[in-house]
Amino acid sequence: MKRSAQPTAVTILTIGLALLFATPALAIGATGTEPVGSATLVDRPAAYDGSRVDFEGEAIAAPMPRAGGTWLHLNDDAYARSHVLEGAGLGGYNSGMPVWVPGEGAAAVKTFGDHRHVGDLVRVSGTFNAACAEHGGDMDIHATELVVSAPGRRVHDPVDPWKLPAVVVMGLLAGVAFLAERRAGRHERTGLS
């Protein structure tokens, strides 16, 4: 009985130790390994100010190179991986976070999201600043690590098939209205009614 009790004690001890070490690991996970959402950061900036965070989002529009680094804007919204032109449903406003990448680190990002592109999905680790002293009080993340987790792509911008006939019909109607107005104006000028 005593022999069989020993493994149980070891198991309990192991689980206990695992939990002891896992708790801080989980806590770090909340700010260090699992990406934090921009909505959370904007809603509770003081709680994360100065913390190391992981953040993932679609690189938007264009890089903004400056002395000593580059600004990236990463959107972690409903459109980060799918484009409205590809049939993705509307999912509210855009939301994201400006990320300051020192040196040449941002060069790894090749595709930026716009009307015709889904941008690279970029994951950064860095320090969150509720009001950055280096950048005039902006809310930002200063990245120390950057990984392109999924490459961006060009999306097709198809013409809706019903729009061309609609243009023709509306154009004809506008032409008729224009001619009718001209005719009415001429009648008025010549005293006819």
């Binding site: 459109y79 855009n94 809706d160 009415a184």
Partner: protein, 500 residues
């Protein structure tokens, strides 16, 4: 007895409204050309459909309701206010066709917000919209700043009879030149000159900041339009926080302060009267109230320790407050940061600044500095009366282009409008509170919409209740036209139904 409008009255209203809507259709040629230039064919078709829809309405109305009669005051006011509704209905079409608006109501919200230079928006996934759609958003706000009736007066009206009545109906009263059509053209001359200069300066700054030339040019033109018209639209969802540049922010501030000045003041300065800048009661009023609210917000933010140093604090506080007071609505902080960082006092300072607004006969909204200045001068006059001997004749005067005496009739008109604005602000705030938003946020957003500012603390959202969206559309319309022409339209509608 209420007189029912006759067919000939409807004809006058329809013909002149048609002219304004043709003007809206012609404006769409700019985003159409933009879409074609960038090969955005689907968007280009959206604009063609919308342009033809405007022409069908405009030419159709003129063909069906033929009349050569000149509009009366009632007609002028009804045309001015009704045109904004039709322009909103048809201006929303390309936004809705783009697939980025959740509903036609959302698209109308953005169109009204654009034309009234408010700057709140419900368009979704702004960061992926086409260049054509972004051009249309900014053209709406640029044209709306001058006034869509002013556009029609400038380009589409041959005669001047009745034109002044529509011009007044659009919330402008001042004649820069004796002829109102010439005045409308002078307004456009001022605006286009600033467009050329302002866009060039922003373009150079954007390229210096690392933007590519073509992208920098488009962004600069759009930011200029959003700034000059005190509109607040920006091409990216990050608004002007996108640029992370003090230089860019200073240029924007100069442009939106210039845009918030009275066109008559611009014209006086153009004509060489530079002293008008320091003598004008609107500028004095604006300077005093802006300083007071900026100090209040700065004190509060310093006390809260939100920003790390004095420069960051001054930069953030000044930009948001000037943007609020000029009713521009551009911002360099997140909307929700007003709640999470600025707090109740910071939000109240911004709310009061938005409520007052900038100059009359400008692109700005709100109560206006002229009215605040006149009320203050009247207060000073009354205090002087109280401390003077009974036999003394105490008169008040104010300077706005020319020096005028404060007479009771003018003051009564001023107070009427101020009371109407106050009622609208309270109603807009109460509506938000009734829908469960906290009072400071509801008031902030309601005043922002009603004063045509466009700063948001997060209340405006595609998921906002439909009633609030519709109410904000009405508040933006009322605020831009300053009530009277909207009341005239309501009276006209009632008379059409119940008159004899």
């Amino acid at each position: 007895m209420t007189v029912r409008p006759r067919r000939r009255d409807h004809a006058i209203v329809a013909v002149y409204t048609g002219k304004v809507i043709i003007g809206v259709g012609l404006l769409m040629l700019v985003p159409f050309a933009t879409s074609v230039a960038f090969g955005e064919w689907d968007t280009a078709l959206d604009f063609l459909i919308s342009i033809f829809a405007c022409f069908v309405f405009g030419f159709g109305a003129q063909a069906i309701f033929r009349t050569a009669r000149d509009p009366s005051w009632t007609h002028g006011l009804v045309v001015a206010s009704g045109s904004w509704i039709w322009a909103t209905l048809l201006g929303a079409l390309p936004l809705w066709l783009s697939g980025h608006a959740g509903s036609y109501l959302d698209a109308m919200f953005d169109a009204m917000s654009g034309f009234t230079t408010t700057g709140l928006y419900l368009l979704q996934d702004l960061d992926h919209v086409s260049r054509g759609i972004n051009m249309w958003r900014h053209i709406m706000t640029y044209a709306g700043g001058q006034g869509i009736v002013v556009i029609a007066l400038t380009f589409l009206f041959r005669g001047t009879a009745g034109a002044y009545k529509m011009y007044v109906g659009e919330g402008k009263e001042e004649r820069l030149l004796p002829n109102v059509v010439q005045t409308a053209r002078a307004i456009w001359l001022v605006s286009l000159a600033y467009l050329a200069v302002g866009t060039t300066v922003l373009w150079v700054a954007a390229m210096w900041l690392g933007e590519r030339p073509l992208r920098a040019l488009l962004q600069s033109a759009w930011i200029f339009m959003g700034s000059w018209s005190t509109g607040g639209f920006a091409p990216q969802s990050y608004n002007t926080m996108w640029y992370h540049s003090l230089t860019f922010e200073i240029i924007c501030i100069v442009i939106f302060v210039a845009g918030s000045f009275n066109f008559a003041l611009h014209w006086a300065v153009w004509k060489g009267d530079r002293r008008e800048i320091v003598r004008n009661v609107e500028i004095l009023s604006f300077t005093v109230t802006l300083s007071a609210f900026t100090l209040l917000a700065t004190f509060w933010l310093a006390k809260s320790g939100v920003y790390p140093d004095a420069l960051a604090l001054a930069r953030k506080a000044f930009y948001q407050l000037v943007s609020a007071h000029t009713t521009t609505g551009l911002s360099t902080i997140y909307s929700k940061a007003f709640v999470s960082q600025w707090g109740t006092v910071g939000m109240l300072a911004v709310t009061f600044a938005m409520a007052i607004g900038a100059s009359a006969c400008s692109t700005a909204g709100g109560i206006k500095g002229l009215r605040v200045g006149m009320i203050f001068k009247s207060l000073v006059r009354d205090v002087r009366k109280m401390v003077s001997p009974e036999s003394a004749a105490v008169r008040g005067r104010y300077h706005h282009i020319r020096t005028a005496s404060l007479d009771d009739a003018a003051l009564r008109a001023v107070l009427t409008v101020v009371v109407l604005y106050a009622i609208m602000y309270v109603l807009s705030g109460a509506l938000g509170a009734l829908y469960g938003y906290d009072l400071s946020s509801a008031l902030f957003e309601g005043v922002s919409a009603s004063s045509n500012t466009g700063l948001s603390c997060g209340v405006t959202d595609p998921s906002m209740p439909g009633v609030m969206k519709a109410a904000y559309i009405v508040f933006m319309w009322l605020g831009r036209l300053e009530f009277m022409s909207v009341f005239a339209l309501a009276g006209y509608a009632v008379a059409s139904v119940r008159g004899r």
